[in-house]
C-alpha cells in the first residue's frame, strides 16, 4: 500500500517536472531557433548590424540603427507620459481614495490592459492620429516649434509622437498595477508614524514613496519592457519608415513594427535573417529588462518582510 504511494508520487512528480521544464525548454528553443536562423546576417555584418543606419533590403544592406532609435525614442515618450500619470493613479488609489471609489477605478484602469493591441491601433489610426494632427500637433508647433523635436508639421499618416502616445496609454495600466501593489506592501505603521508627527497627507505619501522606491523603479522598468515590445498598435500609427529624425512629427519604425510589417514580404534569405536577428535582439533586451524589473519589485516585498507583490 505504501509502495504504490511512493511509485505514484514518483510518477506524479515526474509528470509535473516535465510540464515545468517545458517553460525552460520554450525559452531555450526560442533563443536557439532565432540564433540559427539569423546566422547569415550575424556572419555577414557582425556588430555593424546594430550600428549601421542604412536599411536597404533590396540591395542586401541591413543596418538596424533606425529601428533601435525608433524603439528607444518611442518607449521614452511613452514612459515620460505614462510614469507620472501611473504614479498619480496608484497614489490616489492606495493613499487617498476611499475603498468604495478605489475598487471600481482600479478595475477600470486594469481593463485598459485588457483591450487588445490591434484595437488600440484601430482607435489610433482613426481617432488619436487625426486629433494629434488637428489639435495637439499645431499647438506644439506654435509654442514649441523652435525645438527640433517639433520641427515640420504633424503627419496623419503616421509619426513618432502618435506611436509614443498610444504606447503610453497601453503601459499606464501595467505600471499603475505594480506601483499600487508595491505601495500596498509598505506597512501602515509608517504612515501612522508620519501622520502622528504632524506630516500632511502629501508629506506622508512622499515618505511612503521613498520606502517603495525600488519597487517603483521596478514598475517603470516593467513598463519599459512592455513599451519596447509593443507591436500592433505602434505598427499601425508610427508611419513605418526606417529614418532617424529628431522631429517627433516624422514617421519612424521600431524593431517590433518592422517585424510585424515586413516579415511576410521577407522571402529572401538575408532579409529574413536580418529580421530574425532583430527579433533576437528584442527578445534578449526585453528578457533582461523584465528580469531586472522582477528583481527590483521583489526587493520591496523582501524589505517589507511580506511575501506579497512578487
Amino acid at each position: 500500500m505504501a509502495k504504490t504511494g511512493t511509485i505514484g508520487d514518483t510518477i506524479f512528480r515526474t509528470i509535473l517536472i516535465i510540464f515545468a521544464s517545458t517553460i525552460l525548454l520554450i525559452v531555450v528553443a526560442m533563443i536557439y531557433m532565432m540564433a540559427v536562423n539569423s546566422m547569415p546576417t550575424i556572419r555577414a555584418f557582425g556588430i555593424s548590424f546594430l550600428t549601421g543606419s542604412d536599411w536597404k533590403p533590396a540591395s542586401n544592406i541591413f543596418g538596424a540603427l533606425p529601428f533601435i532609435f525608433g524603439t528607444v525614442v518611442s518607449s521614452l515618450i511613452a514612459l515620460i507620459i505614462a510614469v507620472p500619470i501611473s504614479l498619480g493613479i496608484a497614489i490616489f488609489l492606495v493613499e487617498q481614495a476611499p475603498k468604495k471609489l478605489a475598487t471600481p477605478i482600479s478595475f477600470m484602469v486594469e481593463l485598459l490592459a485588457a483591450i487588445p493591441s490591434v484595437v488600440y491601433g484601430l482607435w489610433g489610426i482613426f481617432v488619436l492620429a487625426p486629433f494629434l494632427v488637428n489639435y495637439l500637433g499645431p499647438f506644439l508647433q506654435t509654442y514649441l516649434g523652435w525645438l527640433p523635436l517639433f520641427e515640420g508639421s504633424p503627419k496623419g499618416t503616421g509619426m513618432m509622437l502618435t506611436g509614443g502616445i498610444i504606447m503610453a496609454i497601453m503601459v499606464t495600466p501595467i505600471i499603475t498595477a505594480v506601483v499600487r501593489d508595491v505601495l500596498e506592501v509598505v506597512p501602515t505603521t509608517q504612515r501612522e508614524a508620519a501622520l502622528a508627527l504632524g506630516a500632511t497627507q502629501w508629506e506622508t505619501t512622499k515618505i511612503v514613496l521613498g520606502n517603495a522606491a525600488s519597487g517603483i523603479a521596478g514598475a517603470i522598468v516593467l513598463g519599459l519592457g512592455r513599451a519596447l515590445g509593443e507591436t500592433m498598435a505602434v505598427t499601425m500609427v508610427i508611419g513605418n519608415s526606417p529614418s532617424i529624425s529628431a522631429s517627433l512629427f516624422d514617421p519612424a519604425h521600431t524593431i517590433a513594427s518592422v517585424l510585424a510589417a515586413n516579415f511576410p514580404e521577407a522571402t529572401d534569405e538575408m532579409y529574413l535573417s536580418a529580421l530574425i536577428e532583430m527579433g533576437l535582439v528584442l527578445f534578449l533586451v526585453t528578457f533582461i529588462v523584465n528580469g531586472l524589473a522582477k528583481l527590483l519589485v521583489a526587493k520591496v516585498a523582501k524589505d517589507s518582510g511580506t511575501a506579497k507583490a512578487t
Binding site: I17, I89, V119, T176, G229, N290
Partner: protein
C-alpha cells in the same frame, strides 16, 4: 509665520490630492472614450450577415467576419488544449514542489517570458513550424497562442494553489494518503475555481493577440475547418481591414473590434463579479 508655513503645507497637500485624482479620472476617461468609439462606430454594422458570412471583395459592400470568428474560436480552443495542461501542471509543480533552485528558475523564466513581446513568439513558431511545414497553418497559430498562455496560467495556478491552507494537506497526509493523492484529490479541487479563473483570463488574453498569428496562421477569406491550412482570426482581420484603404472594410474593423472587445470585457467583468464573493 508658523501659521503661514502650516497653511502652505496643507495647500500643497490639497493640490497634490487633486492632481492624483485628475490622473485617475484621465485614465478612466481614456477607457470610456475608447469604448464609446468602438461601440458607436461598430454597432451600426453588426447584423446576422456580418457574423456569419465571409468577407466580400473590397468595395462590394456586405460580407462579414464569420470565418474570422470561427478561426479565432478554433485556434483559441486548440491553444487552450495545449497550453492549459502544461501551464496548470507547471503551476502545481511550482506550488507543491517548487521551493528549490529549479522552482525558482522556472518561476523567474515564466515571469520574464510573460513580458516577452508576443511578436517574438510569432517569429519563433515561424522558424519552428511554418518553415519546416512549408506554410502557415491554424495549427502553428494555435501553438504560438499556447506559448503565450503557458507562463500566465502557470503563475496564476501556483498562486491559487498556495492559497489552499496547509492544514488541509497535513490532514490528508496524516490519514495516510500519498503526496500525489493529496495534491490531486484534496489540494487541486480546493483551488479549482481559482485555477479556472486564471485559465479563463488567459483565454481572454490570447483571444486578443494579433502579433503571434500574423505570419503563423496568416489569414484566409474563406471558412476553413482544417488546421493545416492558413486560418483567419478576428484580430488579424481587424489589422488588415484597419490598415487597408477601403472605407467599408475599415467600418468592418470597428464592428469586429466591438465583438472582440465586448467578449473580452464581458469575461473580465464576469470573472471579477464571481471572484469578489470568494476572496
Amino acid at each position: 509665520m508658523n501659521e503661514s508655513v502650516h497653511n502652505r503645507r496643507k495647500l500643497v497637500s490639497k493640490i497634490m490630492t487633486t492632481v492624483t485624482a485628475a490622473c485617475a479620472i484621465f485614465a478612466v476617461s481614456i477607457l470610456l472614450i475608447i469604448l464609446a468609439y468602438i461601440t458607436i462606430r461598430g454597432a451600426a454594422s453588426i447584423n446576422w450577415e456580418f457574423i456569419t458570412s465571409v468577407p466580400k471583395p473590397a468595395l462590394d459592400g456586405g460580407g462579414g467576419i464569420g470565418n474570422a470568428i470561427l478561426g479565432s474560436a478554433i485556434m483559441t480552443v486548440l491553444a487552450s488544449l495545449i497550453g492549459l495542461p502544461i501551464g496548470i501542471g507547471a503551476g502545481v509543480y511550482l506550488a507543491e514542489f517548487g521551493d528549490n533552485w529549479f522552482g525558482s528558475l522556472v518561476r523567474f523564466v515564466s515571469d520574464t517570458l510573460i513580458g516577452v513581446p508576443s511578436i517574438i513568439v510569432g517569429i519563433f513558431i515561424y522558424t519552428l513550424l511554418v518553415l519546416p511545414m512549408g506554410g502557415a497553418s491554424g495549427f502553428a497559430g494555435s501553438v504560438a497562442l499556447s506559448i503565450i498562455m503557458i507562463p500566465i496560467v502557470a503563475r496564476t495556478t501556483e498562486e491559487m494553489i498556495r492559497l489552499v491552507p496547509k492544514s488541509m494537506r497535513e490532514g490528508a497526509l496524516a490519514l495516510g494518503a500519498p503526496q500525489w493523492r493529496v495534491t490531486w484529490n484534496i489540494v487541486m479541487p480546493a483551488a479549482l475555481s481559482g485555477i479556472a479563473t486564471g485559465a479563463i483570463l488567459a483565454i481572454a488574453r490570447i483571444s486578443g493577440e494579433t502579433a503571434p498569428l500574423l505570419f503563423t496562421a496568416l489569414n484566409s477569406r474563406f471558412f476553413n475547418y482544417y488546421i493545416d491550412e492558413p486560418m483567419s482570426s478576428l484580430t488579424v482581420q481587424i489589422y488588415n481591414f484597419a490598415t487597408g484603404p477601403f472605407p467599408n472594410e475599415q467600418q468592418m474593423a470597428w464592428a469586429a473590434s466591438l465583438i472582440l472587445v465586448g467578449l473580452i470585457l464581458i469575461i473580465n467583468i464576469l470573472v471579477r463579479i464571481l471572484t469578489r464573493k470568494k476572496f
